[in-house]
């Protein structure tokens, strides 16, 4: 698996390839619309949704503005409850910490609960290099791992695969990772889920080390929270003797009581359920487990330093913005070149990585600014605002020289009613010569769309002639 996304083309290029893939477009359309409708139904059922959203945004803002205090509070609470706390400034350090902890157990295999943070830092690959095999246990992650694929969605990493493709992946790859797929496996979702159950059962029952992330970490009590559906999370969190949780420093919530807000916002926004099937909450060394919390920075403090951009750290990874986004629906997750795709990825990735490539520079433009993401965000992240903020950064960096010149020229014409009127008259005079194909970057328009011929008379000339009468 290669989740590192190094050397990916800019968004428009990758997105164009995805648009041409009819199967992918069909899969994405079906999946995003299904979940969009489910979310809308359970959100409309909650009479105080707007108030919960405002509280969620406020709580996360409170945490972020006082993050140093809350991190120290969390550390004390976890240690008081018998857990160990480690701090990782970047991905490499987090991987090293986890590797050392696994080595100390003498084990060479670990089971994993789906975790965005460990994907972000490439933990599986780092462990593999040192001879330790990490088994993904979430069904979608399993599909991605077995398919030697990359995740394309925060909640449903294999959203780009349909049932027939999943069956094919299981039949081809399960045997090389463990128990093979059952004979006569059909593409019924029920049969595929059963195949995953059988494939992973032994692995769970014998696992000695579990690795997870967390949805929330309560600063006041040191409680960690993992929401899931299948029970693979519970297996990885409770059966192993050693549990290592890699958690981004933005995952904190202030108090135990505050979970009442997020336990309502997240399931309804995420899977479109009133409540997800399973949630595990534990504090420190639960039931005698050896528990390690690895707190991860890896660029988050860069995001925090940006007064407009920091709101992206409120994100609770529900993926509602992906499901609502018309661009994500056509482009798919891989085009975003990061484990964080969709609208939230378009604002988070370039901030975490700091515009490190042409791809990163293209991400703030991967949006029509339609605002559907902001509408559904359960913590009210104004994604269009941050996109515009980041576009200004890209433009100011001089990355798009030709565009900058064109924009300057347009501004000069538009700053003068006289110049504008002259331009309008010229275009009107030569309206019969309006080309079917425009030159340069404007050709992108006429590839698929006609352009309107300029009118013989602009509005302002019509108004002037009317005033004369």
């Amino acid at each position: 698996m290669s989740p590192t996304f190094v050397g990916m083309p800019p968004f428009p290029k990758a997105a164009a390839r995805a648009v041409d893939n009819a199967q992918l477009r069909h899969n994405l359309h079906k999946a995003t619309h299904t979940i969009r409708d489910k979310r809308a139904a359970v959100v409309s059922e909650q009479p105080d949704w707007a108030a919960l959203r405002a509280a969620g945004a406020g709580l996360k803002t409170r945490v972020l503005r006082h993050l140093d205090d809350y991190l120290e509070q969390l550390e004390r609470a976890v240690e008081r409850a018998g857990g160990h706390v480690h701090w990782a400034a970047d991905g490499a350090e987090a991987n090293r910490i986890v590797l050392d902890l696994v080595r100390a157990t003498g084990e060479t295999e670990v089971v994993k609960v789906k975790s965005m943070a460990t994907q972000e830092i490439g933990l599986n690959e780092a462990l593999a290099e040192q001879g330790i095999t990490a088994y993904e246990t979430d069904l979608a992650e399993l599909i991605v791992q077995l398919g030697d694929d990359r995740p394309s969605h925060i909640l449903v990493p294999a959203i780009h695969r349909n049932r027939a493709e999943i069956r094919e992946i299981f039949q081809r790859a399960m045997a090389s990772w463990g128990r093979p797929a059952p004979d006569g496996l059909t593409d019924e979702p029920r049969a595929l889920a059963e195949a995953a159950r059988l494939h992973l059962r032994e692995r769970f029952l014998s696992a000695k080390v579990g690795i997870s992330g967390a949805n929330f970490a309560v600063a006041e009590t040191g409680t960690l929270v993992v929401l899931e559906s299948e029970g693979n999370g519970r297996m990885c969190l409770t059966l192993p003797e050693t549990l290592i949780s890699v958690v981004g420093i933005e995952k904190l919530v202030p108090t135990w009581q505050d979970l009442e807000v997020f336990m309502q916002l997240l399931p309804r926004s995420s899977t479109g359920e009133r409540m997800n099937p399973y949630t595990s909450m534990w504090t420190g060394a639960a039931e005698g487990q050896d528990f390690h919390l690895v707190l991860l920075d890896n660029g988050r403090t860069n995001v925090l330093a940006d007064e407009v951009g920091r709101q992206a750290l409120r994100c609770i990874r529900c993926s509602a913005c992906l499901n609502a986004c018309p661009v994500y629906e056509r482009a798919g997750g891989h085009a975003y070149g990061s484990v964080y795709p969709g609208p939230i990825g378009a604002i988070l990735t370039p901030q975490l990585r700091g515009f490190s490539s042409e791809l990163d520079e293209s991400l703030p433009y991967a949006s029509t600014l339609c605002g559907a993401c902001y509408d559904v965000c359960p913590v009210a992240i104004n994604i269009p605002e941050v996109l515009l903020h980041l576009r200004a950064e890209v433009a100011a960096s001089g990355a798009h020289k030709g565009e900058k010149l064109a924009m300057g020229a347009a501004r000069r014409v538009l700053s003068s009613p006289g110049l504008l009127a002259a331009g309008q008259r010229t275009a009107g005079r030569f309206r019969k010569l309006t080309p079917r194909r425009l030159p340069g970057p404007l050709a992108a328009w006429t590839d698929t769309r006609d352009i309107p011929a300029p009118p013989t008379q602009s509005f302002r000339d019509w108004w002037a002639s009317r005033e004369e009468k």
Binding site: P12, P326, R330, Y365, S367, T368, G371, L420, A444, P452
Partner: protein, 234 residues
């Protein structure tokens, strides 16, 4: 009531019929319409593409040109949203009383039946900024429903973006076109003769796609349908 028309640069240059219809409609409803000729552009294209330094003088010009009116009416949802929602982030105070056309009719003039006649089947695309920034909601539908002779067909997936997005349509042409095609399919599914919206830039994208596909559906700005009468049909 002294009403200034901010026609917007796109309408001024490419769709003067929308401006003329807006004037006709507002005058019919008893407004004294003025067109401050120093007006040009709200700066949305520059701002949305990241060129705030270029947007700023344009925004300041709007602030100056439109100061002192009872109302500033804009036949463009996205330009109205630019002025009201985003000027403050540029440090520019928006002129007071800026309204998108449907807002002005329903909220200020308190009319839903503007006395229009348009004997055609019409479907309405609410456009993103009208829908989610200005929250126009039911206003345009109420206005259209009151038009005599008009049959309004519901548009499937109406809250989904058409894929225009300003310079998005040039920077991400493949996705933009794919969204446009899907929007066109929904429009055709209604069987309507006319696709109506309150933003000509979106209509330029959807209409341009339909013309290329020879879809045979006309696009019209809301102002043109509301201005249409038996004596003077659109």
């Amino acid at each position: 009531m002294r009403v200034a028309l901010f026609v917007t640069c796109v309408n001024d240059t490419l769709f003067p019929g929308t401006g003329r219809a807006t004037v006709r409609l507002l005058e019919r409803l008893g407004c004294r319409v003025e067109f401050p000729e120093a007006q040009t552009c709200c700066g949305q294209m520059h701002f949305n593409t990241g060129y705030r330094d270029d947007a700023l003088p344009l925004a300041r010009r709007v602030g100056e040109v439109f100061a002192g009116y009872d109302a500033v009416v804009m036949p463009s949802g996205s330009c109205a949203a630019m002025v009201r929602e985003w000027y403050p982030t540029l440090g520019v105070e928006p002129p007071s009383g800026v309204y998108e056309l449907a807002e002005f009719l329903v909220d200020v003039l308190k009319v839903e039946d503007v006395g229009a006649y348009f004997p055609h089947t019409v479907t309405y695309h609410p456009t993103c900024h009208s829908l989610r920034s200005l929250r126009l909601g039911e206003r345009p539908y109420k206005l259209l429903s009151a038009v005599r002779g008009l049959t309004l067909k519901p548009l499937g997936g109406s809250d989904e973006c058409c894929g225009f997005g300003g310079t998005f349509s040039l920077k991400n042409p493949a996705v933009s076109a794919a969204m446009g095609t899907d929007k066109v399919r929904n429009v055709l599914d209604t069987g309507a003769e006319v696709l109506c919206a309150a933003d000509n830039s979106c209509l330029m994208h959807i209409g341009g796609t339909m013309r290329r596909e020879r879809a045979g559906v006309r696009v019209m700005h809301l102002a043109q349908i509301l201005a249409s009468t038996e004596e003077n049909p659109a």
